[in-house]
Symmetry: C2
Amino acid sequence: VPRRVVFVTYPRITALDLVGPHEVFTAAAEVARRTGVEHDAYAVSIAAAEAGPVRTSRGPAIVADRSLSSLRGAIDTLVVVGGEGAHDAVHDARLVDWIRRTAPRCRRIASVCTGSFLLAAAGVLDGRRATTHWASCDRLASQFPRVRVESDPIFVEDGDVWTSAGVTAGMDLALALVEADLGREVALVTRATLCCSSSVRAGRPSSVRSSARSSPNAIRCASCSARSRSIPTATTASSCSRSASR
Amino acid sequence: VPRRVVFVTYPRITALDLVGPHEVFTAAAEVARRTGVEHDAYAVSIAAAEAGPVRTSRGPAIVADRSLSSLRGAIDTLVVVGGEGAHDAVHDARLVDWIRRTAPRCRRIASVCTGSFLLAAAGVLDGRRATTHWASCDRLASQFPRVRVESDPIFVEDGDVWTSAGVTAGMDLALALVEADLGREVALVTRATLCCSSSVRAGRPSSVRSSARSSPNAIRCASCSARSRSIPTATTASSCSRSASR
């Protein structure tokens, strides 16, 4: 049975908050299947008040495949995405109430960027450590004084609740969830698939290309001409040796 | 008059190839407006054979706002996105022919990831240096021997044609185009908006937060508790001081 991952959306989300982590989960499922780790790791869906196109703040409209009210049963991972619209959405009683009622049947709950405001409005972050986009940390703390806001981490894990910093940090959070579920190797290969931010923290011996070839299980980010030795989920970014060519 | 940016899509693109660079252009337009650099920097649209939802290989369906045949007149930047579907799309004579015929009325042409296969099929890359996703560089070179494939750079600029490495490298390419159009400051603030991959290459003095406050024009990535001094478009990633909190 695949882990059921549900993205929660609303009008004027940031498109990249949704698509980045979505790509991480679905790419990880492909990697896990291909490498024999797990055949059917994730079933990912996008929920909104109504199924159909969701308007994003500055990106393209993205199609939600189901309505929130149609979701029954247990959820493995609930991911509330962020965006300009989050500050209006905290006043959407139906949405906030849905999150509050649904939280107990989720194994874990996550937010990307200002999605944390919705978790806070639903009381999910009461007494917990959490983060959000750097430009919104002060606002989260003053609007929801029960939340222990941390402005430095790229993501914060407090029990079963994970919150990430701005936009692309959602991909780092998703990679950390993948690592927790499927192990470091799958997470590393997933990151390399979505190269180059995937990149690498290790040194890059000149023999990497040939040694990677002779050792097919070696995890390599060819963009960086380097082999991945450690998974950089704890920092967004790492030193990529690729440079621009002009 | 805004610069007209057109993303070219087809079935089974990689959603992130499209949404990442799309977010960069639209965020940059907001930053340029807010900072008084330019009021209306970019007009971004997504084109497909027909307007409406475009299927992606493993992401959500994304709504194309116009058909390729409806596009008339000059285009500033044409961006052909990549994905699994690119290898079928090179055999789509209508699409390839559209790119070939449209190229002369574009100021510049770009591709993300395996979008380079479509530029190559249209002859746009003949005799040019170009790159693609690391896992597809060999295939690009063998399938299109007139293309001078470079597997190391994160993106390649050859005259008016820019090609990027895999998936997230498209964001780096877009940031480089923004820098060329609107300058380094706008590109840096745009990157910080899409934090944390935005991050920073500079050191992080403990006084950064207060000094940034006293100097409102200072570009700061608060996620990294550091001030941005150099724009990291030449590498995907840079050293972000944020770490995970568990």
